[in-house]
Structure formats: structure tokens, C-alpha cells
Point group: D2
Chain length 484, copies 4
């Protein structure tokens, strides 16, 4: 059953989340001016699924129920599904200009669909069955899930069980009759407060000594003992100033939170990995590959930034200058190169024993690696085209002031038919995307989300099959293959 | 019918080509030491089509005859075909370490399959029928075709009909009862001397005044009046010195030639475009898109260079140094990014009215644009890893000399179990790929083949749909869409 | 006479500036929490001039009075002076981590010392004498001057006199007995509100029709008719939240303002260019060259960012990872390359007829062009090293909260001996420099200050003497020099 | 006494060098067509020293004799001398378009002037006196010295004394009454065969166990027991084909050789370091800093390549295209950035205890690091502008052929007033610099000469004083300096 955006909002109102921001409990996250734009972005994933013309991209047919479901709750059944996932990411990035938060849950569901199957195959357990029941519940209710992986990690040179504070990785602290108690925290949780469910996964490959840390489960986001502490973003409080002009993108945004699990109870039926430590690595790797593909969304956000750059060039009257045109081309070139990477790892996807289709690991990592670079260059070019006014523009209040507003109208008029007001708006959007709240998602999250650059480089190193390439080189150079 | 490599060689011996090199007629191109490696590279496209394990990539089922044919003569019938074309390019690049020359004919055939259909649809002509008959002939005989597009162009600011010398673009000079006479030249013809057929296409979009230049046709490569003048390459004469050690890649290479048409006769049944000038542009654009995809081969050549770099790192004993490992990763990353581009434009291919599947134009151009950059950086990194010895290594003759050979053995031994001889070979291969004969293909051809970088930038500019992106940006910034 | 920082602050209190911010008049800019850090940065230029060990860099001997003066009021008398200017910029950038604003006045003074001399040489006027009297006043009172160049420019395709609104470039509107009236505005004025004086210069080369726009003069910053409208910066209001933790750099900052001249009176003795339109270009070019050199300050800010990156790497426990070390090296490499550029244009400086020493124009432009690129890459690397926590860190208020503060202490502790509090501080500093208030100066101002990138490219094109290089190439290729 | 170019040539004829190339003894290196262009390049250092207008750059006053000497034999007495050295390098690079080989001896002399003084200061030895006598001899006779540092190094993970073959680093094998015997080899010796003298230095820092390897001395290049084995270069044999057209730069070139020392006698008075192992490191570091500065020559070669690119753009008729103009600007920008680095490390030079002035170590390494990158990008841009014809151009013999020459004349004519012949020449020059013999010097030597990129990165890491930068960052972030 597909929810409308309104139904989604109402469903969030029913949650009893414990959220802190600026040192105070947020009683009503849904209507909080700082959180609200991030809710709007998730709501867009519901709205567009019902919008004519986007069904093919935004919805899918459940392999469980045969019903039409939101693609964010779908288990990929073909490379066509994977390719559509890439397109859905770009589409939503383009329509929100920010992180719409819902892909992380989709990626967690798909990774679990593979790994629970594999655990069962080894241990004759019932994780996959449990998982599919849970999946049905998510699909039927069109839920948004947070996929929670990143632990605080403490001393990074030590494995979980050797940390001075044993809680630096989330762990099992007790086993009860009907379930377990877990303690720990998950950092950088994108869209956590806009989620109905939270799906916890381990953050690294583990050995036997860390078996108490090898745990994966799902819980309602308002389960007892869970606390959310909101991360603050660049320019976050502009959203509370009352004038949308200074916000840049007044409609949409993202958020991250630290999620604390203070001895939280997890019933057995929601446990998908429990101490089978050797599957922590495969779960991480599978999730990471899917999530690295998901950064196709940044080419959608890039579309917005390119459009903004072209628009300010027109407002400034310089859009015909050859160097400006060339910079727009370069922005497009880089942006489409990102898109190529996400498409390619999808098109080269393969079926897993569980029946789930997974992206090509090597190309997903290559794609994400470019995401850690190109948005920064696209942003630099956007700032080049925008001109210095982007960072010296007075406030909306000055613009509206009876004393000085007329001077801003007079002196900040460009040479086109456009108003100073529109010039103002588009500059604030570029600021939003390159220095402001959306830069958190477009730049820094592009760097570290789904794994920092070095994580991809390690995977590229493992996957690139260099020994095979050495054989090619040796043969062509005339070295006998059996020689060193 | 698939030819063997030997049959291919024999078929070339039967041609009566007029070839000049170093100011002299080459009586026997097949056995010429400079040309031979390029023949070997084309022969590899025959050999691998018959090699078990490669059928799926190297062959296809003809949509005309239902027979198994070499994929180089195939008209793409699906995105799967396009994706396999990308993989075939990488495969052969990896197995030859050079340009194997046969893709240009494949791309010409596919472009003509689309455009002849479109001309017929407009003018009720029979070009497509002619073309399909010709295609059958090519498929049945497993022929190699040269796709000849680039005219000398003379004064680049003038259209063909305004050139001081009217022959600077190939043109119709007379119409006879059973055909026409053409005059002009095609420059930079890759593999021309290894081809059975030559397929001529116009090089730019044209207007009515240029209708005599709007001509496309196919001829046997040894048709009367055609002369080939070989281009020389860096280090070309090393192949004549007698010792394979200094050649780098003693087996394979590429070649380019200037092809002169001195009033050559073309029968009607071999004409595929004749003065329908408005189809010159679509033919160029269609061929260019296909051919920009074809540069997937460079990721195969990149595989060889990466393998060589890893090998010399091991021979030098520095392969465990973190900076060396990181450079190998970067080489792989860039190389796979190239591959992603070619895959993505294939996976996003679409069916044309003729039934032929064509790659996505925007992504094909984006992909080729990266090809004009990354091989240079991969080559730079290879030289970094190789060390200076790559360019200060004495000759093979010194190595074999009774006087000084022992010193080379002694002092050019690295720290591994490998011999100085093998170190020598792999260094010469890297030299070959980054400064020598193969650098012509891996670097300069990557820059200019299938269109110089600026050609792609113009296409990116046209295809990127920036106005749509402006709508996205304006909406998110709060500008009303109906406003400027 | 050198002022102390305290005396400087007191002198600002005596000014009667008309300043607007957030739509309201700022009655007391000196104590305003948003403006104050920028005052502190200027104050540092006074403080360090009196600090033992820095005299050689921070002070000079006046060529007028023979007295020790602050170097910011000095006219360069040698290449040694120019080199010390570069070092002063880096020193202050490193000690403030931001734009210290005072170089623009220094550069205006030096440019005027050259151009007033040249006008007099042509017209037998007394501009240089006037200027030197003004300079004595500035030196004796150790004043901070704003150098005001950038006009709003309106329709950028039109010269000043053809603008629909004639005020889009600052202009003479009336001539009085004892002076003139001017009207217009200057945008992006760095440190305007912290200045005692404002020195106005034209913003482009001009022709006779624009002679009313060819005007340069100096005025007290609180002259009647001048209004300042503060530009807002990323994260500006964090400075008003009361907790320095979230500010990143709680001590120092920069500011820019729009300065409006509403029919302001300028006495003759303060006019340095008056309708000698052909000297507008030389004045712009001379100022621009000096000011492009001044971006040596960014290598000082880069020092801070490198130091911060190394510190967070240590706090995160990853500073020994080879990729982290390599990124720190790359940051240093790029940062020192910036420094090389500024040093080189200084070392290659030449004496002008007025006796003033000016930097090498070509190298100053080359240096600034790198400034439009490298800080963005240094910032990207800093974000890479910092990790995602930089943008998901909760607020200082959360850190201090009795409910959730303990969790932040617990879970945001890294693996070193450092406290979570210090980790917090250094992350906020990196945020400040790469996304926050200081990013305005370190990134966007690096892009557009002293002219946008394309301005430098035009100058490089003009100065690079390509025809001479063509002679070299032709000679070596065997082309006769007298041939085309 | 300054020699003329002719006298230099004559002096070389008197040497009795043992030179091998292509497996045969070269009886007359001076007139060998492959070696000769490299002699011409060294001869240019003599010729220009006597050319009016270049005295200030090309000559200096000996601090020993007070006589005018060639700057290549001078010990730097001031930063002005260091800056002139940078300019001399660029000047000669621009006039030869290649490596002129003589700087390595100059850098060896200067490094020894410092280190011999320092050894004496510690051990009360007479190395500096010996050195100054040798220096007088070099200056008086205007000799060219090869500075020989790079040993074969064998297993790079082992120090000299642990190598399986003890000769992999040059070493003392016997002590005689009047001197010593040395054995080993020096690789990559630039200009060795054009030198009168060879100055040997150790290649790495050493410990006591390696004391037999800690040896520095000077010998006549034709001393008994020395053998030269020439390295081959890309396209080297084109010089023997008889037509200068295909050579690109028919006048000048470089060369490298392996120099073998087969138990060569060195008299005491020519020994400058003998087992004082702790001075091996300082000697290497001092030489390396000087030699990294020397790469200013590449900006001179860059001048030639830029001039060639502009010329071919004109011949092709595309020089007014905005993208071509922008690429020329970028080439100049990068080239001048290289120049800035060399200038900056010179301008920041400091006096050593010996009285010799040495460049700034950090900036010299930063400068060289850019040299390992920018020439590759400049070369790539040159190939972009040149077009594909650069690598598909037939041979000079074809051009001169009665059969096909007329077609090359006809079809390879561009659109300018220039002849096909001139177009041919300039394309071959670009090939020479980017793929041919000069690419060895402009690209690969830029990478590895004076130390490979990683060597500079290690030095940058050591010299950048990151702890001081951490203090700056901590202070600004509010961390107490005494805290971790």
C-alpha cells in the first residue's frame, strides 16, 4: 500500500521519539523548522511514487506479494531494477536538491535479503524467513527505514572487544527469554528522525572474539531506550529566522543524528544476525556496495547546481562568455560521469543465491570514489560562475528594510530582465549547496557517506584483479608466463 | 562464416593494395615488419571469435541470416549487444595492448543501418536495401571494413564548397551510367591496409551547397585509384632492427594511413548516401556516438599498462611501498571509470526506427571525453612507478654485446628473483605504451580519435538539457517557474 | 607612530559610521558579536607590529619621514619590501585563520603612489603631492584604509555611461567650489567597517565617454552620506549563540559590506584621479597586481587548516595511516606552491618611475590563479581527513546538556589522550574554514577577490609573450624565422 | 677563461672515451649523428656565454680568481646568483628545447663547496682546500662536469653493504699509496659523454657499516677503466635517417649513459669525501636541493612547446577558437607556476658556513614536485591543439617522393599562408617533445631526474613543520596549547 505524503507525515506524528537538539528535547519534530525540510524531502519519495509518469521509476512489484510497492521497500529482482534505482536516486536528488534519506533503508533491506539467506544456508537457521516477514510488514505499510551501520569506533586501532569502553561498538549486553538487550550508539544517522524503523547492522568485519558485537536487527524508531541527538549543520538556524530568502532551499534539506541505544530490548523475531560473526563482513560489504551505488542522487543534486549556475550566469549577463559556457559543460561532464558510474555498476549487477540482484562491487566502489571528488569541483565551478556576491549578499532583512532595501534593489540588479529578488534567491541556493546546509549532503556526505575514500580504494585494490593484468602485460612483453 | 586468423591473413595476401611507406611502394604489406604487428592485432579479432569461452562476447547471431557471425560485422539488436560490444573492446585491447582497428568498420555499418533507413523513409529510396545486401556480403565473408570519415578539411573556417581546393573534402566529380567518380582523401585511417573494404562517410553536417560532398559508399580496399600512404609512428623502425627486445610489444601494433581517392569509380549498388545532404549530419553523429563508445578498448590497453606497472614495481622491489600501491589503485580507478562510461552509454541505448540499437549520445560523449584525459594520467603514473631506467636503458644490442652485455646483466638486475632480461622487457613495454608506437594509439588517438575533445564538449552542451535543470533550480530557490 | 591594538579599537569607537545589518542600524559595531571577530583580526595587524621578533616583517621605515611605520602603510622601496609583504600576509593569515582585511588599503596606497606620479608626468598636475600628503597622514596616524574598487556594474556588457541606471558605476555628479559630489556604491568591501579611511578607485579601464566615472579619492570612513550594509556569511549567527564551541574560530573573522555613496562630498585635496580616464586602466592593473600578490595570506590560512587536519587525524588515531600522511603532504605541497607564486612575483619586482617597487605582473596573475584552485583542494583533503563527524556533530548546547551531554562525552571520544571537547573544537575549526564563516574568505574570496579567475587568464594571455615563444619553436623546428 | 663552442667541441675530440652504443664501440662520439645533437646542446652553454646581452645571466665573477667565468662553474655568492641560475636554466631550455646537461656538474660543485667545508670543520681535514683547487682548474678551463650520483641500487630494501652483489653501490675496493681504487656504476648519467670531468657522489645517506661506499671524487671523463654505455631514446634512430624533417628538433637533444667504473684509480687530491659516512646524507640532500631548483629548464622547454602549439593552431586555422586560446593560457599558467617555484626557492636562499648560498630546501622540493606533474599536462594540451596529424604524418621520404609527395602537399595543406612543409616541421617538433627523443627529457626526466616524486614528498613532509601549524590551529580553536 502506497502512502501519500500527508499520510506519511501523519504516521510520523504518531511516533513517540526522544529527540534532542540544541540541548533541549524536541517535543514535535514534525513541525520543527530545522527538522521539517528534511521530513519534506522524505515525503517527496511518497509523493512522487503516486505522481503520474514516475511509476516506473518510483514503484515496483513486490516479489513477495505481487503488489505495487514503493521502490524504496523493494528487493531488486533484475538489473533493470538496479538501473531504475539509480534513476530514482537522480530523480529525487534533482527534485529535492538534498539528501532524501530513504535509500539507506532500501540498501539495508537488500543487503539483509542476501546475507540472511546465506547464514541460513550455512547454519540452517531461520533468519531469512524472519527477514521476509519483516520485509512484508515494511512493504505493506510503506515504511521508511533508517539503515544504521556506523559505530563511534573509539580507538580505531583496536577491535571492538579490546576497546577501553566496550560500548564503542553496539553490542549484546544480555539475553532474555524473548529477546536480547543491546547497548551502544550509531553515529551520522541520516534521516533517523524521519524513519518508522531502524535497522541496525555491524560496521566492520569481525572475528570470534567480537561475536557479541555481531548483531543485526530492526526496531520501531520509537522503541524504548532509543535517543536521537541531532547533528547541527552549516547555516541550520537560518531556517528559524522566518524569511525563506536566506535559506536558499526553503523546502527541502537533510539531517543526521547520533542514535543512542541504552539497553534496548530486541525481540527474537526482529533479529537477523546474532553472533554469526563471520557474516558481519559480508553484510557490511553488501550494504556498502548498494549504498555506494545510491550516490547517483548526487548527480541529481548536481543537476540543481548546474541549473542554478546557468541561471545566475544569465542574471549576471555573462552566460554567453565562452569561459562560462565551458564551465557549464565541465560541470555537466563531471556530473554525467558520476551518473555513468552508478548506471554501470547497476547494469553489471548479478543475481545472488537468495535471488536478490546486487550491483558490481568493483564498479560501485569506483563510482563512489568519483563522488568523493567531482561534487567538490562542480561546487568550485558553481562558485566561480556565481561571483563573489554569493558570500557578500546582505540578509533578507536588509532587503526588506525601509532604510536600505531600496539600495539593495538598485545596486544588486543585474543586467537581465530578472529582478534583484530572483538574483538573490538563486545566489542563496548556490550558497546553500556549496557552503550551507545542503553542502553537508552534497560535499561532506559525498566524501564520507557509504564509506570514506580510503574504504573504496581498499575495495578497488581487492577487486581489480591485478595479477590477471600482469599476465596480459608479461605475455605482450615477451616474458614467459611461468616466469616471475 | 567465421574466418580463422590464417584465412584472414591469406585473404589479405590476395588484395592488390597500392601502399607507400618511407617514400617507396610496399609490395607485400602482409610481411612488412612495420605493418605486420598491426595485421596481427586485426587477426586477433578473428582468432578470439573461434576461441572457446569468448563466443558470447566475440560473436553474435546475424539478424539477417540467423548465422553466427563475428560481432564486428553485427548490427546491434539490443542493449545486451551494445554492452557486449563494450566488453569486446576491452577484451581485445587487453589481449593486444594496442588498437585492433576493426571497430571503426563495425561502427560505420551500424550508423549506416540507421541512416539509410531514415533516408528511405523520407525519399522512398532503396539505400537500406542496398546496404543490407552489402551487409550480408560482409557478414558472410567475415570481412574487415575501414570506416573512413576524416577529410583533410583544408581551411577549417570554410565549408567544403568554398575551399580554394575543392578536393579538401571527398566529393563526387562525375556521374556515369553505372555509378559515380569520387575524388579526395581520408586522413588518419586506422587499419586501412588491413581491411578488405573501405566504407566512406562524410565528415561534417552539410547544407545544400555542399551536396556534391554528401556521399557515402563502400568499395573493396584495392579498388582502382586508391592509394595508401602510411603514417609513421614513434619508434616505428625499431621493428626493423631485428631484436624484439627493444620493440616493447613485439606482437601487436596499430597503423594509420592517408587514403587518396584519385577519381575512383563507385557503382550505384555500393552508394548509401548520394547528395541527400541533410543526412550527412545524422550519419556523422550516429557514427561518432558509436565510435566514442568503442574507446572502451582503452580500458583494455589500460589493463596491460597497469599489469606492466605492477610487474616492474615487483622487479624493482618497491611494490609494497604504500605510495606505489596507491598509484596502482589510482590507475585502476581511472581505468574502470573509463569502462563505466562505455558500459553506461551502452546500457542506456535505445532502439532506432530501423531496429538498430544505438548508444545514449550524451553518455557516449561523456565517456569519450574522459578518454581524452585519463590515459594520459595513467601513463604518467606508470612512468612514475617504472623509474627513469625506462628511458635510459641501452639497446638490445648492448645487452647482447660480448663487451658490455655482462655489465648490463650485473648492474640492471633488480632485487627480485626476476632476470635483468625480464626487467628489460617490461620496461620496454611501458615505453612502448607511453612514448613509443603504442602511445600513438593509447594517448594521441585517445585524444583525437572519434573526434577531438572539443567535439565532445559541443555535444555535451547540446545534450545536457540545461533548461530543464534551470527549472529544477528555480523551483527549489523559490523563483516562480514562469519568471525569468 | 604605531598604535596598539587597544588604541586601534578606541579609534574605531570614535567613528560615527552608518552601518546596517539584518535590517537594523548597528549602533555600536565595535562590540557587535558578529562584527567583533573581524575587528580583532585587524587589531592583530597592530598587535604584531609591536611584538618582539616580528618587527622586520611587520614594520618598515617610511621613505617620507624616516620613521618606523606599520608595513601596511608603507610604500615598497625594494624587492625586499615586496618579499616581506608576502611574508607578512602569510604570518597574519596563520595567526588569525581568516582575512585580516588591511592589505587592500596597502595595495591601494602603493598603486596610487605609482599612478598619481604618472598622471603628473603627463599633465603637470599635483596628484602625487596630494597623495604623499595623504600618505603622511595615514602613516603618522597608523590608519587602516579600505581600498574600494568593485562597482555593482549592472549590465556587464555595457560601459558605465551606457548603463540604464547611470549610478551602477561610482561617478562624479557635481563639481563644487572646494570639491566634488560622488554617487554610487562599492560592493564586497572587505573590512570596510573596521577602517578609518576609504580609498575609492575605478573598477575598469575607461574611455573618454566614461570620464565622469574616472575618479579616485580618499575619505574618512564616516564621511556624511556613506552607508555600510553588512554582507552575511555562512554560520554568521553562531557568533551570537553565546557558546564559542560552535563558532570554530571564536576569536577572528572577516566581513564584507556594500558601501553606498549617496552624493558624498570629496574635497580637492583628497582627489587623486579626476577624469584623466586613460589612467583608470593603469590604476586598476597596478592595484590588481599588488592585490593578487596579497593572497599569500591564504597560505597562512592554509597553515591553520593543515595544522587542524593533522590534529584531528591524531585525535581520530589515524595519523600514521599512509594515506593520511600523504594527504597532509599534498596539502603542504599545494599550500607552499601558493607561497612560491607570491614570493616569485615579489622577488621579480621592478622599480616604477615614481620610485615605488611593483611586483611582476605575469607572475602575480599566475599566483592568484592558483589561489582560485588550490584552497578548494586543500579544503577537500581536510574534510577527507576530518571524517563525517565534522558535519554531524551536535551543538555545544547538547554537549553541555545534563540529559545528553554525557553520551556525547562517551561516544565522541576518540582513541587518543585528547578529550571529546578538544576533538569537538578542532572539528568546528575545520568546519569554519571549509563550510562556515571562514570559508567565505578561504574559498570564495580566494576565487573572486582581486579579480575572478578569468581576469587573471586574460592578463596571463596578454603578458605571456607567446610570439617570442613561437620564434623559439620555429627556429628549433627548422622553420625560417621570416616565414609564417 | 671562457671557451667558444668550437673550442669546446675541439676539447671533446681530444678525449679518449670508451663509449658503447647499439652493441658497438663509438670511435668518434663527437660526430656520431645520435650523440651530436646532445653535444650541440652543451655547446650552447658556451656559445651563449659569449653572446652579447646574455653575460649577466650566463657568466659570473669567480669568488676565487675574480675572473669572469661561465656560470655553470660558479659557486653561488648571493640569492641574486641563485635567481640568475634559475633564469639561465629557462633561457637554455628555451634555446635548445631539450636537456643541455651542464647543470648537474654545477650543482655537484656547489654541493661539494658546502660539504667539504663542513667535513673539515669537524675533522680538521683538507677536503675544502682540495676542492677549491679542483674548482679553480674547472673554472680556468671552463670545463663541463658530469655530476654522478645514482647507483644501480640492486635490492632497494637493503643498504649497500648488505647487497648480494657488493658493487651495486659504487665503493672503495682498495687503498693505494697515492690514492684509491673504486668499483661500481652510475646510472642515467645525463650528458656524460659530453663532459670533461666526472664528479662522483654517494646516492643515499649512510651508516658506519657502509663507510666504504661513502666516497666522493672527481676524475677526467676518460680516466682508465671508465666505460660509457649509451641509453637509447624514443625515436633515436630518426637522427640517422638523413632527413631532418622527421627529427622534430634536428639541432639539439640530450643523452644518458650508464657509466661503469671497473677498478678505477682516484688520486688523493681528487678525493672530496672518504669514509666520513655521516656526510653522505648532507651531500645528497644539498645536491638534490640545488638540482631540484635546476628544473627551471623545463619552463624553458615549455616555452618552446607553447610556441609550437600556438604555431600549429595558426597553421590549422583554429587559433582564434576560444577553447584553443584557453588551452594556450593554461599551458602558460602551468609553465609559469613551475618558474615561480624555482625562483622562489632561489629568492629564499640562505648562506651556508662555507659562504656558498643554497636554495630553500622546502621550496626546492615543492618546485620539483610540480615538475613531475605539469609538463605532462602541458604536453597533453599540446597534443590536443596539434590534432591527430601529429601521429599519422607520413615520413619525410614520402613527402619527398615523386609518386606520393604531391598528394601530401595537396592534402596536408592547412588553411593559412603557411606551407605544408612548415606544418610538417612544427608537428614533428611537438611529436619530438611529447613522444619522441625530447619527451625523454621533458617528461620522464621531469618525473625522475633529481629524485622521483616520492623523494620530494618525503622531504616536504620533513620540512613543512606541521607541529608549528598544529599550534596555530589549536590556539584558534580554543584548545589550550599545553593540551594534547
Amino acid at each position: 500500500m502506497l502512502m501519500t505524503a500527508r499520510q506519511y507525515e501523519d504516521s510520523l506524528r504518531k511516533l513517540d521519539l526522544v529527540v534532542y537538539m540544541f540541548g533541549r528535547r524536541v517535543e514535535n519534530p514534525v513541525d520543527d523548522p530545522i527538522i521539517r525540510p528534511s521530513l519534506n524531502a522524505v515525503a517527496k519519495t511518497y509523493e512522487m511514487a503516486l505522481e503520474p509518469g514516475f511509476e516506473d521509476i518510483m514503484t515496483a512489484v513486490s516479489h513477495l506479494s505481487g503488489e505495487t510497492i514503493n521502490r524504496f521497500t523493494h528487493i531488486h529482482q533484475s538489473t533493470a531494477d538496479l538501473v531504475k534505482k539509480t534513476k530514482m536516486g537522480r530523480l529525487l536528488g534533482a527534485h529535492t536538491g538534498c539528501c532524501f534519506q530513504r535509500c539507506v533503508g532500501m540498501d539495508a533491506l537488500n543487503a539483509l535479503s542476501i546475507v540472511t539467506f546465506d547464514i541460513d544456508a550455512k547454519y540452517d537457521t531461520e533468519y531469512n524467513k524472519r527477514f521476509l516477514e519483516y520485509l512484508s510488514y515494511v512493504q505493506e505499510n510503506d515504511l521508511t527505514c533508517d539503515g544504521a551501520m556506523t559505530d563511534p569506533k573509539g580507538d580505531r586501532s583496536l577491535p571492538p572487544h579490546k576497546q577501553p569502553d566496550p560500548d564503542m561498538f553496539l553490542r549484546v549486553v544480555a539475553e532474555k527469554k524473548d529477546g536480547i538487550l543491546v547497548r551502544g550508539a550509531k553515529a551520522h544517522q541520516t534521516g533517523a528522525v524521519n524513519s518508522h524503523e531502524i535497522i541496525v547492522m555491524p560496521t566492520i568485519a569481525m572475528r570470534e572474539e567480537d561475536r557479541d558485537y555481531a548483531v543485526s536487527f530492526a526496531l520501531p524508531s520509537d522503541a524504548a531506550g532509543i535517543t536521537y541527538i541531532m547533528g547541527r549543520q552549516s547555516c541550520d538556524t537560518r531556517k528559524t529566522e522566518g524569511d525563506p530568502l536566506d535559506v536558499g532551499n526553503p523546502f527541502f534539506g537533510g539531517h543526521e543524528a547520533l542514535v543512542v541505544f541504552d539497553d534496548v530490548f530486541v525481540p527474537w523475531e526482529r533479529l537477523f544476525l546474532y553472533k554469526e560473526y563471520e557474516f558481519a563482513g559480508p553484510l557490511v560489504e553488501s550494504f556498502a556496495s548498494y549504498h555506494r551505488q545510491s550516490y547517483a542522487c548526487k548527480s541529481g543534486v548536481g543537476d540543481v547546481l548546474i541549473g542554478a549556475a546557468q541561471t545566475i550566469a544569465e542574471y549576471n549577463g555573462v552566460h554567453k562568455a565562452s569561459h562560462v559556457r565551458d564551465k557549464i559543460i565541465e560541470m555537466n561532464h563531471l556530473n554525467e560521469t558520476l551518473y555513468c558510474g552508478s548506471l554501470a555498476c547497476a547494469a553489471e549487477g548479478r543475481r545472488k543465491p537468495s535471488g536478490t540482484w546486487c550491483v558490481d562491487t568493483l564498479l560501485a566502489n569506483v563510482s563512489k570514489q568519483n563522488v568523493t571528488r567531482f561534487p567538490y569541483e562542480i561546487a568550485r565551478l558553481a562558485q566561480d560562475i556565481a561571483g563573489g556576491l554569493m558570500v557578500t549578499l546582505p540578509s533578507a532583512a536588509d532587503f526588506n528594510s525601509p532604510e536600505v532595501g531600496r539600495w539593495l534593489e538598485k545596486y544588486y540588479k543585474g543586467n537581465s530582465a530578472a529582478s534583484a529578488d530572483n538574483r538573490f534567491r538563486i545566489l542563496r541556493l548556490i550558497e546553500n549547496l556549496t557552503l550551507g546546509a545542503a553542502a553537508v549532503g552534497y560535499l561532506t556526505e559525498s566524501m564520507h557517506g557509504a564509506g570514506s575514500p580510503q574504504a573504496q580504494r581498499i575495495m578497488i585494490s581487492r577487486q581489480a584483479n591485478v595479477p590477471e593484468k600482469q599476465k596480459l602485460a608479461k605475455r605482450l612483453s615477451g616474458i614467459r608466463i611461468d616466469e616471475i
